[in-house]
């Protein structure tokens, strides 16, 4: 009985040793891949950061209004953040490659999914960033046009345009990521529809007189004023 226990224990130990001997080189390989991955990811981070700085990405981000959002969230500059994202993506990729070497059952599928997901993540980030750039550009254009045309509430108009474009870009990004596609789409359609309907009702019914006054002032009185002013810039 005692000999059987010792024998089984010995067998188990041998099995453990054999498994460990079998696992150890793979573990070492995983560690080497992770370490090598860290070095490559770090180099990639430095290169990406350098390219973004040369391309004045932070200035573009400033203009797009992304820097303000990052500052509010106590995050680093856009170029730093993007280079860090690249670093973590690359290093995570290497770590997952290393983990795959361990041949853990069932993990392979998850790793494949991760790599398939990466391009969508980048596209989503791209959409959000250029959405912010477009929102900044068009809201500023509207603000300047409204100020120079002496229109009422130019700030409100600019904010409205910025919000619509940002919501549109975020919706597209979520759609790209495949996150709650239907919910996002329906929520967007409802919100956008409600906004447009609200504006239509506000202008069509509630603001009928206001709209008439505005149009009269805009197209009749102002022209009259301009004629009377007789000031030519050139």
């Amino acid at each position: 009985m005692w000999e059987m226990i010792v024998g089984e224990l010995d067998h188990a130990m041998q099995e453990l040793a054999r498994n460990f001997a079998h696992l150890l080189p793979r573990l070492l390989a995983t560690l080497i891949i992770a370490l090598l991955g860290w070095v490559i990811a770090y180099a990639l981070k430095v290169v990406v950061r350098g390219i973004l700085r040369i391309a004045k990405f932070d200035k573009l981000s400033d203009n797009a209004g992304a820097t303000q959002i990052l500052n509010k969230l106590a995050l680093p500059s856009s170029s730093e953040l993007l280079s860090r994202v690249v670093f973590w993506m690359a290093w995570m990729g290497f770590i997952l490659l290393g983990v795959e070497v361990l041949e853990i059952v069932g993990l392979h599928e998850y790793i494949s999914r991760f790599f398939l997901y990466l391009p969508r993540l980048f596209v989503a980030l791209f959409i959000v960033f250029f959405g912010l750039v477009a929102a900044s550009f068009f809201s500023r254009a509207a603000l300047l046009a409204a100020v120079n045309a002496d229109s009422p509430s130019p700030g409100l108009l600019a904010t409205l345009i910025r919000t619509i474009i940002v919501i549109f870009a975020v919706t597209m990004a979520f759609d790209q990521l495949g996150l709650a596609e239907r919910t996002i789409l329906i929520a967007f359609a409802i919100a956008f529809g409600a906004l447009m309907l609200g504006l239509a009702i506000a202008f069509g019914m509630g603001g009928r007189d206001l709209a008439r006054q505005f149009l009269e002032r805009r197209f009749l009185k102002e022209k009259e004023d301009q004629k009377h002013d007789e000031l030519s810039p050139l």
Partner: protein, 402 residues
């Protein structure tokens, strides 16, 4: 060919007939022995502009005066496209002038409703007889007319290019064949956004190229639309063009020091002072609301000190409000440097200047409310000297990386 007169048109049937007749009379009366041609470059007029040009004949001229043609007076009308484009119209005229080897050319705008034959003589003679390369016009103006030119375009051009040329943006001007060839070679109209401000690019190219400049007094200028050009397009044509010219001409303007007077034929300035209706309060309100609404935009364009000062004066009561020369010059130079560095979209920079310009105009109107022509000129001269004195400020901004 000795002389060429270009008339760019687009739906100018109402005025082009009289313009062409005035040109014809001017050419026959003052240049009877020269070989001359009138070139009408039309941007696809939908009215009868081209027919009116073609119908104007020497017989009409002879019936109305005792002028007789010693030579054939050619008049060519051509369509350069379906849409009006000043740069294409000018290029067409320049190409015709080079092809015909014209010694002197003039461009005359059909928008002006009171062109006289004497304008043609005053524009062409200095180029044809006295070897000038560019002759720009001087007009009799009301003291509150052309305020963008007097408060920004002329003083800044003068300070940077060191030439006291009063009308850098001229729709009527004359140039030599030599300058015409230079303009064709340089393709000056391509150096900016979509051919905007072509007329001013001609003047700036002549200044930068070291050509022999002059100016001539033409008299009162009347526009078909009363001259009430919209501010923002006018700023794009003039201020935008001036700002965009600074980058390629940096070597020139950064080393210029003393400004040179320009030879002038006739009066250098002639201001009328009859009372006109101006809504000053509206300008004051537009300045105040513009500064408040555009704060995030102005923050990226103006230096912190200038912005603080502009915001400071925007809070002053209407009677106490003053946009000083020094602050205005710093504002203009901040805008020029920001334009060069493209801190935001360049067209947005030009648009953002409009509300601030209104503030300066308000001050100008207030300061010169009861001023005589000479006093207004003295005020403009003081502004010009401030632009010149603060030129190192622009250079500092220019050389700062961010």
């Amino acid at each position: 060919m000795d002389l060429l007169v270009g008339v760019p048109t687009h739906n100018n049937a109402k005025t082009v007939g009289e313009t062409v007749q005035a040109i014809r009379v001017g050419l026959l009366k003052y240049f009877p022995r020269e070989r001359v041609v009138i070139v009408n470059a039309d941007g696809g007029s939908k009215d009868s502009t081209r027919e009116v040009v073609a119908a104007a004949s020497i017989n009409d001229v002879q019936r109305s005066s005792d002028i007789y043609a010693l030579r054939t007076l050619h008049c060519i009308s051509t369509i350069y496209g379906d849409e009006p484009a000043t740069e294409v119209a000018l290029r067409t005229t320049l190409a015709a002038a080079e092809l015909l080897r014209a010694k002197a050319c003039a461009i005359v705008s059909p928008e002006s409703t009171n062109i006289t034959p004497e304008w043609i003589e005053r524009l062409l003679r200095p180029v044809y007889r006295d070897d000038f390369d560019l002759i720009t016009p001087l007009y009799r103006r009301h003291k509150f007319d052309g305020l963008l030119l007097r408060n920004l375009v002329y003083p800044m051009t003068r300070a940077l290019y060191a030439k006291r040329l009063r009308e850098p943006y001229a729709v009527e001007f004359a140039f030599s064949g030599r300058l015409g060839s230079h303009l064709l070679e340089q393709q000056v109209w391509d150096h900016g956004a979509g051919g905007v401000g072509t007329e001013m690019r001609v003047t700036l190219a002549a200044m930068a190229g070291g050509f022999h400049l002059g100016q001539t007094f033409l008299g009162t200028k009347q526009h078909l639309d009363g001259g009430s050009a919209d501010l923002v397009p006018a700023m794009r044509q003039t201020v935008g063009t001036l700002f965009s010219s600074l980058e390629p001409n940096f070597q020139l303007w950064s080393t210029n020091h003393a400004t040179e007077p320009i030879p002038t034929f006739g009066a250098e300035h002639d201001l009328t002072v009859e009372p006109i209706r101006v809504n000053r309060r509206r300008l004051y309100q537009q300045f105040g609301s513009g500064v408040a609404e555009l704060e995030p935009v102005l923050k990226s364009i103006l230096s912190p000190q200038t912005l603080a000062e502009v915001q400071g004066i925007s809070k002053l009561a209407e009677d106490d409000f003053r946009y000083s020369h020094e602050l205005w010059v710093k504002t203009a130079y901040d805008f020029a440097a920001s334009y060069y560095k493209s801190v935001i979209n360049r067209d947005h920079i030009i648009q953002a200047l409009a509300p601030l310009y209104r503030g300066k105009v308000y001050t100008f109107l207030l300061d010169n409310r009861d001023a005589s022509g000479e006093e207004v000129e003295a005020n403009v001269e003081a502004l010009c000297l401030t632009f010149e004195r603060l030129k190192p400020y622009l250079l500092d901004l220019w050389n700062t990386r961010e």
